[in-house]
């Protein structure tokens, strides 16, 4: 497992060797902040010193923005042929998968944490509940990992980054929509309520919501972590087949 470190380092610094990282970070912060201040977010009108309206859009924003980070993880290596170099170095497929995934996750974590001026703003304007803010950040980071797991998997399936992006967008969108009330109502119209409940339980929104209310439920943490574990397992299988 000591081989993960050099892989992680190369991949993480790789984001900053091209303009990708800077474009991504600026776009992410710009979009997320403007959504919060828009008439849909009502950051000021809400009248509470919390980041709820800021994080409200994260499941939606991640749907587009995480595939942008994840699509290149394996597709790029496959297209340029470096995957042959990487997998003939003395590393196991699992180490390669983990090194890359953790680097991408660290990058997304950095992006999420760079929104801390928003937290400072609410602290300046009022007296926010720091516990809720901390749990929301934790939830956002875990959710980003789950999104990235899916994107890393789809990226390992193709050498075409566009296909990889669209596949992961579709998969992530499904996992978001599952939790919307309109969608579950439709499901309930032709499925037993119990089954519809199970299906909607797979939604990112359902599990992220609790974090934004200050609840760190082990069930939600386990959901995101097991989704990460499952997708990474499939990622290894996809590369070794």
């Amino acid at each position: 497992m000591s081989q993960i470190r050099p892989l992680f380092k190369r991949e993480f610094l790789g984001y900053f060797r091209s303009p990708v990282a800077y474009v991504f970070l600026i776009a992410f912060l710009l979009i997320s902040v403007s959504l919060a201040f828009s008439r849909y977010g009502n950051f000021f009108k809400a009248g509470t010193a919390s980041l709820e309206t800021y994080f409200l859009f994260f499941p939606w924003l991640f749907m587009f923005i995480v595939p942008a980070v994840g699509m290149r993880l394996w597709s790029e290596e496959k297209r340029s042929g470096t995957v042959e170099l990487l997998l003939t170095l003395p590393v196991t497929t699992l180490e390669a998968v983990l090194g890359k995934f953790l680097a991408g996750w660290a990058f997304l974590t950095l992006a999420v944490l760079l929104s801390f001026p928003m937290a400072l703003t609410v602290a300046f304007l009022g007296d926010p509940d720091w516990g809720i803010i901390a749990s929301t950040y934790l939830g956002a980071i875990l959710m980003a990992g789950a999104y990235l797991g899916i994107c890393a998997l789809t990226s390992a399936l193709t050498k075409n980054q566009v296909i990889s992006f669209i596949l992961s967008l579709a998969a992530c969108a499904m996992l978001v929509f599952l939790g919307l009330s309109s969608f579950t109502t439709t499901l309930e119209s032709f499925l037993p309520v119990g089954i519809a409940d199970v299906v909607s339980n797979f939604s990112f929104v359902t599990h992220f919501d609790a974090f934004t209310k200050g609840i760190v439920d082990p069930k939600d943490v386990a959901f995101f972590l097991s989704l990460i574990g499952f997708t990474l397992f499939l990622n290894v299988v996809a590369l070794e087949r």
Binding site: R10, T82, E84, T88
Partner: protein, 237 residues
């Protein structure tokens, strides 16, 4: 050092590699010859553990690649076809990454390794350039440097002189010949003169099967007076 027994790889109903068997000892340079699509690269990819054979075994230094792939990869230096490398890294960053993953974690040791191969492959003048800005000859040398960084006992080189100008070709051949004494080397090529210039043995494969396995001089003696490419054509068509 490198032992291949009955390797088979099938894609659909096409036998890319169809029961190839050979061994390469230390001090030998094996030239792997064949028309495009004959199965040269596929065989090399199976030896290096990049793809899994459908049947047969490949061992390097007594380790079966199917049993302990990482153990084999540790002993091998591999230059894949067209020398892939991360384009956005500089030559130095790239080689430092390879050194680190090859187990040289101490800064001084890592630096010494990188400096050594930079000198060996004459890359010192472009060390701070990103790989995407390099010419084909330099890229090929970066791939070569990467394969040599841990001074491996076995080398697998897929078309090491492809795309190089005559001077660079000569330089690479000298380099291979100079270090071959204590290594087992397999190199694929379709340049026949290259085989005569540096290889101690030659294997010709066609449609996934070995059609000749002998010394370059024995190959020439098959048809006295004929040119090598005539012999090659007679064997592979």
């Amino acid at each position: 050092m490198i032992e291949v027994k009955g390797l088979v790889k099938t894609y659909g109903n096409k036998h890319a590699v169809d029961g190839i068997t050979f061994t390469v000892k230390r001090g030998e340079i094996l030239g792997f010859l064949g028309p495009n699509g004959a199965g040269k690269s596929t065989t090399m990819k199976m030896i290096t553990g990049f793809i899994r054979p459908d049947a047969g075994t490949a061992t390097v230094g007594g380790i079966d690649v199917a049993v302990d792939p990482v153990g084999v990869k540790r002993q091998l230096g591999y230059l894949p076809e067209s020398a892939p490398a991360y384009p956005e890294m500089t030559v130095e960053e790239f080689l430092r990454f390879i050194a680190e993953i090859r187990g040289f974690r101490e800064t001084s040791e890592k630096r010494a390794r990188v400096e050594h191969v930079l000198g060996l492959t004459h890359l010192a003048s472009v060390r701070t350039q990103t790989i995407e800005t390099l010419s084909k000859g330099y890229k090929q040398r970066v791939g070569f440097a990467q394969a040599l960084i841990h001074n491996p006992p076995a080398l697998v080189l897929d078309e090491p002189t492809d795309g190089l100008d005559p001077n660079q070709k000569n330089e690479v051949r000298t380099l291979i010949r100079n270090m071959a004494a204590e290594k087992a080397v397999i190199l694929s090529t379709h340049i026949l003169e290259e085989v005569e210039a540096i290889c101690t043995r030659v294997i010709i494969i066609a449609s996934g099967r070995i059609v000749a396995d002998e010394t370059p001089s024995a190959l020439r003696a098959r048809q006295p007076g004929a040119r090598l490419d005539e012999i090659f054509r007679a064997l592979t068509t």
